[in-house]
């Protein structure tokens, strides 16, 4: 099936992402990070001015947004690979901040793959601003739909 290039540049409805301690702590535990700055408020305040987020924490936003905030092309979930992920972190993100994210499809293209057959690539970019309107981060992801199942 031919890919639909018209989705390139499509922007989602801005979404709100409150940075909550319980979620940050749960995320730090999940990646087996025992760093006390995620668990000890006093220490975090002294060292970081508040509880910071792990470098990949913004990834959580990719999953709980409404469909109208996350423009996408339809991929078969059995054949999805996460190819690349990048975070640019411009300013500190601390618990208590309220971020606004805006996602856009930066590119969609096809390429002949190896054992996976023809592959479709989708590049998404999410820009985050904090409650003061400062650009704090940009997250870029490349999702790939392979021609056949991805495991093994």
């Amino acid at each position: 099936m031919a890919i639909d290039k018209s989705v390139i540049g499509k922007t989602g409805k801005p979404f709100t992402m409150p940075i909550e301690w319980s979620k940050v702590r749960e995320f730090a535990r999940a990646i087996r990070d025992p760093n006390p700055v995620y668990f000890d408020q006093e220490l975090a305040k002294k060292e970081c001015g508040g509880i910071p987020v792990p470098p990949t924490f913004l990834q959580v936003a990719a999953f709980w947004q409404d469909a109208d905030s996350m423009p996408t092309v339809h991929f078969d979930v059995r054949r999805i690979l996460h190819g690349e992920q990048e975070f640019e972190l411009h300013k500190p993100i601390l618990v208590g901040d309220v971020l606004t994210g805006t996602a856009r499809i930066a590119d969609v293209y096809e390429r002949e793959g190896g054992r996976g057959g023809k592959m479709t690539f989708m590049l998404t970019e999410i820009e985050y601003r904090n409650q003061k309107g400062e650009k704090v981060a940009v997250a870029r992801s490349t999702l790939i739909e392979t021609g056949q199942a991805v495991g093994g």
């Binding site: 995320f27 990070d33 999953f63 996460h82 975070f87 199942a149 495991g151």
Partner: protein, 140 residues
């Protein structure tokens, strides 16, 4: 959020702290699914993956990337990572033991901030790279 790394004393080729993740297990994937909201069934639903022709569930790439990010925060201090990019090369399976490591490849200044740049990777117990990446962290 004072940077831990002193720009002047960093040399190209310096190693970052190594982080070892022993015995990757299914509960890691389930915990990360809950923490991140990544409920793609490839990572916890055995029935689903077998039907798709995959032998077993495997780690979310971003779980492994999260483990790898500890090299950066242990090195530079949380809140001092400015850029982190990962590319996923190979799946991580239950039972794997992972070594997360990295080294400094460059130093620069951008917008008045001193930066240390480098490469990181996650290797499994067979020595195969599962995730590779590059980074920039702030230095004092």
């Amino acid at each position: 959020m004072a940077p831990k790394v002193k720009y002047g004393s960093v040399k190209i080729g310096d190693s970052l702290p190594t982080v070892t993740i022993e015995n990757v297990s299914r509960p890691d994937f389930v915990r990360y699914a809950g923490a991140s909201g990544d409920f793609v069934p490839l990572h916890y639903d055995q029935t689903f993956v077998e039907a798709a022709g995959i032998p077993t569930v495997f780690a979310q790439g971003m779980w492994t990337a999260g483990c790898l990010s500890r090299c950066l925060t242990d090195y530079a201090g949380a809140g001092n990572v400015r850029q982190f990019k990962v590319r996923f090369a190979r799946q991580v399976w239950p039972g794997d033991t992972l070594t997360c490591r990295g080294k400094v490849t460059g130093k620069s200044e951008k917008n008045g901030e001193k930066l240390i740049e480098g490469e990181v990777e996650v290797a499994n117990q067979k020595g195969e790279t599962t995730v590779r990446g590059n980074f920039a962290v702030a230095a004092a």
